[in-house]
């Protein structure tokens, strides 16, 4: 803050002595002469007059026999101070002819600073010119008068311009280097106050992993899914070509540090029902080509031309199952691919890994889509924990065996050591192994050879009496199987989630690892659980609906208050109901709400 002072001493001849800076009056101020002698008729001035001019206060003609004294009214201002005989005055002050008046005014200089920020990925430098106007406070000029009320004027000082070289210097001073953006620099220098990217590093380029590229194959329209679908292919058909990997290029950040290329995005690899011959992917069975982000498979298709009844027996098929008619009471279908029913499902149990699509209704039925995904969600942490316990068990086994070998007759006990350790020290390991062969994981055994081999080995060698002759190779063998299964479970978890699409649901249970879509009349007295979203185009009356991300329904509950519950487990989820009848519960995370009157266009979130 700069100080400017004007010291004034009164003279009968109006000659004024000043000290300190003299500043030019701002535009609009009085054009009163600086020495106060020109342009004024001093004879007309009354006794005890006072003038404010050029930040000075001047007293004139206060004779000893003056009839009155001039008065000054000074406001309490932070930036302008008036001192009379060295004492700061505020409010109304009576002045005498020999008073020494000193006026002090502040000046806040303008500023222009360059702020530099580096992006989180350290590939961009943004610069922003922060300009601030300055201010100077002046006394407003006032003509001769017996009484003067001082008025303070705030005069703005515009900020200075910042040159391109100054912006570059600020960026360089922060240790950054790279390619300058000349346009952004000139925009900042010309007064733009928004942050602009002025310097860039060199981003690394992503490589491409080896992958399969699907060839153009004949397709047909699928009316149920309303999309084109590739025709069936026969064994030996070339369905894709193998594209070799391309390495990515490293870059450098704005501090000059090298940046490694990011890992290539996952690309489809040859999956089930195909074989790579040279640079071609060839179908090894008759079936449909199914391409996902992870795999290109050829999935066999089982088509049932009419209704499927309990007399046809349970259907277990590793590929897709298509039923052109209805699925009747008591039928069970387990498919490794999708299940498509052109008719309706009555009292049946359908389980498919890639999705279930029912053109008609599902009544008193159970539909499970993506069960492996759900099972692996539970299994993967079990296997991870089991691997740790198993490593500890193996170490204990080796220690005890070494101890036994140094004792008389100890070698005879070696076959019993693993069993005793499991009983006495690792009972939870035995229980965990038992849990892996429980019924709930049987679908995994059906479709995954690694899991099947592991559970077969547990049954054959690790349960009850069979485990009395376990050796180190048995322990290592199971350990490898556990690792393989865990890896496979992780692959299943990365695979696409499966959805269920049905016209309507009545008294049914539906579980899907992905979405559940009910596109017809609606859902009645059913339990619906979805890994992603639930969309009910029509009514949702009675029962439970739970989704991980969101639920949308047309009309929830009934005017008579049929108990209907919706729950979204993800805290960021939403529930949208076009009509919400009384006694409808909505729950997201820990927030729950039940209504007593009908509401329309309800949007419910996890926060208040």
């Amino acid at each position: 803050m700069r100080w400017r002072q004007a010291r004034v001493r009164t003279e009968p001849s109006l000659k004024v002595q000043t000290t300190g800076d003299q500043t030019t009056p701002a535009a609009g101020e009085s054009a009163i002469d600086r020495d106060g002698t020109e342009g004024w008729q001093t004879d007309q001035i009354e006794d005890g007059a006072l003038i404010a001019i050029a930040d000075q206060l001047i007293i004139l003609k206060v004779a000893a026999d003056a009839a009155s004294y001039p008065t000054l009214t000074m406001p309490d201002h932070d930036h302008v101070r008036v001192l009379v005989n060295g004492v700061r005055v505020r409010g109304e002050v009576i002045l005498r002819g020999d008073d020494l008046i000193l006026v002090e005014t502040d000046t806040l200089p303008p500023q222009a600073e360059v702020e530099v920020t580096v992006s989180d990925d350290r590939l961009e430098v943004r610069a922003c010119v922060v300009r601030r106007h300055g201010s100077t406070w002046r006394l407003a000029d006032a003509p001769w008068a017996e009484q003067i009320v001082v008025r303070v004027v705030d005069v703005q000082i515009p900020p200075p311009w910042v040159s391109v070289s100054r912006i570059q210097a600020a960026v360089t001073a922060s240790g950054c280097c790279g390619a300058w953006d000349e346009e952004a620099l000139s925009r900042l220098a010309s007064g733009e106050d928004a942050p602009l990217v002025v310097l860039r590093g060199t981003p690394p380029t992503m490589g491409v992993s080896a992958h399969c590229e699907l060839l153009a194959l004949p397709a047909e329209y699928d009316p149920l899914h309303r999309r084109m679908r590739m025709n069936l292919v026969t064994t030996g058909t070339i369905i894709a070509k193998v594209v070799p990997a391309v390495a990515g290029q490293p870059g450098s950040d704005v501090f000059g540090n090298p940046l490694p290329p990011p890992p290539p995005s996952p690309s489809p690899l040859p999956g089930q029902g195909v074989r790579v011959i040279g640079d071609r992917v060839v179908a090894t069975c008759d079936g449909r080509v199914v391409a996902t982000l992870q795999e290109i498979d050829v999935v066999g298709e089982l088509a049932i031309p009419g209704d499927l009844t309990v007399q046809d027996g349970a259907v277990e098929f590793p590929g897709d199952v298509v039923v052109l008619g209805d699925v009747q009471d008591g039928v069970m279908i387990q498919a490794g691919g999708t299940i498509t029913v052109r008719g309706s499902v009555y009292g049946a149990r359908l389980s498919a890994e890639r999705g279930i699509f029912v053109a008609g209704n599902a009544v008193h039925s159970q539909l499970y889509a993506g069960q492996l995904h759900r099972l692996c969600l539970a299994l993967e942490p079990v296997l991870g924990s089991l691997a740790e316990s198993f490593a500890d068990f193996r170490a204990s086994y080796v220690t005890v065996v070494e101890t036994a070998l140094h004792r008389d007759g100890g070698s005879r006990k070696i076959p019993m050591i693993a069993s005793v350790l499991l009983d006495q020290r690792y009972p939870e390991l035995t229980q965990a192994l038992r849990s892996l062969i429980a019924d709930e994981y049987q679908p995994l055994s059906m479709f995954d050879s690694h899991f099947r081999q592991m559970t077969d080995e547990i049954r054959a060698r690790w349960i009850d009496l069979q485990r009395t002759s376990l050796t180190l190779s048995d322990i290592d063998g199971l350990r490898i199987r556990l690792t393989q299964c865990r890896r496979q479970a992780q692959i299943y978890l990365k695979a696409c989630v499966a959805e269920v699409c049905v016209s309507s649901l009545t008294s049914s249970v539906v579980h899907a690892s992905g979405n559940v879509r009910v596109v017809g009349v609606g859902v009645f007295a059913s339990s619906v659980e979805a890994g992603d979203d639930i969309v009910v185009e029509g009514f949702a009356r009675g029962g439970f609906m739970s989704a991980e991300q969101s639920i949308r329904a047309g009309e929830a509950g009934t005017p008579l208050g049929v108990e209907t519950s919706f729950r979204v487990t993800g805290a960021e989820g939403t529930i949208d109901l076009a009509i919400r009848h009384p006694n409808t519960l909505m729950a997201i995370a820990h927030r729950r709400d039940r209504n007593l009157v009908t509401q329309r266009h309800v949007h419910f979130t996890g926060s208040e």
């Binding site: 539970a378 942490p381 939870e428 007295a525 659980e529 029962g543 519950s565 729950r592």
Partner: protein, 165 residues
Amino acid sequence: MRVMLVDDSPETLEVLVAQYQLQDEVEVVGAFSEGASLLLALAQSAPVDLVSVDIQLGAEDGFALCERVRSRYPMTHVVMCSIEADEEMRRRALRAGASHLLAKPVLSRELKSWLDVMFRPSLAGEGRVQSGEVLSEHELQEASRSPQSVREIVAWLDSLRPDVV
């Protein structure tokens, strides 16, 4: 495991029956819309392992029904099931003798997790939870938060062994 259920909403009762029937080793031996029918069925049938009671049972009080069931059949577990499932309700349910409070909508994995903890001896460990025992409120809260993995439930039970009532 023999299970009876009572809920005044026929749609909810139907869904709950379906969810219990889908659980391993569970047999639903009765589903009722009022407490009197449940008590009559309990008196006339073989012992029941678990009774699911809706808290807001029309004009009836689910807590009172829970207390009656627990006093007459101390070896039968009661799980309360309610749309209103705040902490106060949970406390009242435990005071009434319930083993747990399930919040509607009931997820199948939550039901399975709780049944595993309470009734599956192979998972719960030998003699860990006997019929008629009641887990403390803290244990029930821990159980309701515990993940689905069998291994972790076993580990959880081990850690809580000294506190089992």
